[in-house]
């Protein structure tokens, strides 16, 4: 299964809008939403049935039994995450707790136990196509494993699919790093603002750090042609494939707000997205089987 991951660094550049368009154009049999923190792909995915949902367990959280606790303070003294508080009794802030287990190991009276904690929910639609996603419970950490679970869920449910499209998350941290694992190519959706340029550089460095081939496209390019040029030049200087640019189009907003993808209408953006898709596929095919997996 060849996997295309869509990232951006900066939020709001159009990952999900473009991912949904690609899924439509590719008639993809398998796709996933790895933005587990703020998933959106399901809003334009045209799903026909209720999905299967499964609790996702993250790292366990510490729990203090107030009846046994002798207020020795060893747990609070040693907690690096400021997760243990004392009012009348000692209790654990489950949002701050990172499940290391040190407090439980240190407690002289065994008043602390590590309890399994639901960190989110895995969601799977597998009626006609396979759509794997998840939702991280608010305030959770360790989103990386949930992201990996979303991808594994997709691969397990769509064994025969030869191509999968993955909508990623903004940033460069844990969930992005986890989404990079095992993909064949990353498409970076950049926007022509200085913030967008700076963020694009950081996500490209992150992809390079993990030795992941990347290509770049620009969305809303006509908002600032000067910055668009800057990005195109940057790609050339760094030997990065530039796969096209998409104009700003209010049609896109209207389409999304009515649950459609932008390639379902006409308009300049629709045509441009088709070009970007074609160019990206060419690169993906060109990468071929040089990866010996």
């Amino acid at each position: 299964m060849k996997q295309l991951l869509i990232l951006s660094g900066k939020g709001g550049t159009g990952k999900t809008t473009i991912a949904s368009a690609f899924i439509e154009l590719a008639r993809a049999k398998a796709f996933a939403d790895c933005d587990v923190d703020a998933p959106n792909l399901h809003l334009v995915a045209k799903l026909t049935a209720e999905p299967q949902r499964k609790d996702f367990y993250g790292l366990p959280k510490a729990e203090i039994d107030a009846e046994i606790c002798i207020h020795c303070n060893r747990c609070r003294d040693n907690c690096r995450f400021d997760a243990i508080h004392k009012n009348e009794d000692y209790h654990v802030d489950i949002f701050a707790c990172e499940g290391c287990g040190l407090c439980a190991a240190l407690c002289p009276v065994k008043a602390i136990s590590m309890k399994p904690a639901v960190a989110g929910e895995l969601i799977l639609n597998d009626k006609d196509t396979v759509f794997s996603s998840a939702c991280l419970k608010m305030g959770s950490g360790n989103s990386g494993l949930l992201v990996s679970s979303v991808k594994k869920q997709m691969k397990d449910a769509a064994e025969n699919a030869d191509f999968a499209i993955i909508d990623g998350s903004p940033g460069i941290g844990c969930p992005v790093i986890a989404s990079l694992s095992g993909v064949d190519i990353v498409l970076i959706v950049a926007e022509p603002s200085l913030s967008g340029f700076s963020d694009m550089e950081r996500i490209l460095h992150t992809a390079a750090y993990f030795q992941m081939p990347a290509a770049v496209c620009i969305n809303k390019y006509d908002v600032n042609p000067g910055n668009t040029e800057k990005i195109v030049d940057y790609c050339q200087e760094n030997s990065l494939p530039f796969v096209g640019k998409i104009p700003f189009d209010n049609e896109a907003v209207r389409a999304v707000n009515s649950g459609r993808t932008i390639v379902e209408g006409s308009g300049h953006a629709s045509q441009a997205v088709r070009e970007v898709f074609k160019n990206t596929l060419e690169i993906l095919i060109g990468l071929g089987d040089e990866d010996d997996e």
Binding site: G9, K10, G11, G12, T13, T16, D37, A38, N40, L43, L59, P60, N78, R80, F81, F95, A96, E98, G99, C100, G101, L102, A105, L106, L136, M138, G139, S140, G141, S143, G144, S169, P170, G171, I172, G173, C174, I177, E191, P192, S193, L194, S195, G196, S198, D199, R202, H205, T206, Y209, F210, V223, N224, N227, N250, V253, R254, V256, N257, G259
Partner: protein, 278 residues
């Protein structure tokens, strides 16, 4: 007063709002907690910048004292330690810096060493003190940098905190420090979905909040509808404006470029101040 600006969805205008509010307030502080992709500094171009590295503590083993008892290997919930070929191997990048192995080693063979994860920068732009946090690429979590940043904030009456997107623990960490939260919403289905997630978080943390509608078009605004349904106060509205978009894309501070925008953000600032101190 500490105002956190967040949105759930990326790209709605957190930085636009927090940077311009700080500039409109003139004598204020701007804190960029979006440590994975910090942008405020591109607008402020701060001067007299002082930088400090942020490090976490990871274990270092003294081979002479280590007896291979494997207490640390069995304890580590993150699997950052392995016993191979008669010695302890520590995986720096996996370690979550809980310090547990160091504390539990019966031979005291482990001690802490620093691993740099990012930096905190402090500078000035006219009357605004600008704090920026930056995470090094390849590092999983920005929480230690946010903690350092928030330790520094103080000394000014008006503090604006630019938050990361999403609603995970990194956002909670940032919101915990605030007196009031501005939720920036864009008029799309995606925007509303994420707005509701972040509103739940802010509610859960018991923080008062208000919504600023950004990029407003003429048609019906799903975010406005959402606020009406949930009874959330709308404290401001910024129309979709290609001139503002262009200024923003060139990292120019709208308030400092054009009197029209200065008025817009000064009005918003007054409204926010009234909400915090009625």
């Amino acid at each position: 007063m500490k105002i956190a600006v967040l949105s759930g969805k990326g790209g709605t205008g957190k930085t636009l709002v927090s940077v311009n509010l700080a500039a409109a307030a003139k004598d204020s502080m701007y804190v960029d907690c979006d440590v994975e992709e910090p942008n405020g500094h591109l607008f402020f171009k701060p001067e007299e910048v002082k930088s400090r590295q942020v490090a976490v503590e990871i274990p270092l083993v003294d081979g002479d004292k280590c007896t291979g008892c494997r207490v640390c290997v069995d304890f580590c919930n993150y699997n950052a330690l392995a016993w191979i070929g008669g010695e302890l191997k520590i995986f720096d990048e996996i370690c979550h810096s809980c310090g547990g192995c160091i504390v539990l080693c019966p031979e005291k063979a482990l001690k802490g060493k620093e691993k740099v994860v990012g930096q905190v920068q402090r500078g000035k732009s006219e009357g605004v003190t600008v704090f920026t946090g930056m995470l090094n690429p390849g590092v999983a979590s920005g929480v230690p940098i946010i903690k350092e940043l928030l330790k520094e904030t103080g000394g000014k009456e008006q503090i604006f905190i630019d938050c990361p997107p999403g609603s995970a623990c990194i956002v909670m960490e940032t919101v915990a420090a605030a007196d009031y939260c501005i939720l920036v919403a864009e008029p799309t289905l995606f925007g509303v979905h994420n707005l509701s997630m972040v509103w739940e978080l802010v509610k859960h943390m018991g923080k008062p909040c208000g919504v600023v509608l950004n990029k407003c078009l003429e048609e019906e605004n799903p975010a406005e509808k959402f606020c009406a349904e949930k009874g959330i106060e709308i404290i401001g509205s910024i129309p979709f404006d290609s001139e503002l978009g262009l200024l923003n894309s060139n990292a120019l501070i709208a308030v400092r470029e054009n009197a029209k925008y200065e008025k817009l953000f000064r009005d918003l600032l007054l409204r926010v101040t009234r909400e915090v101190r009625p």
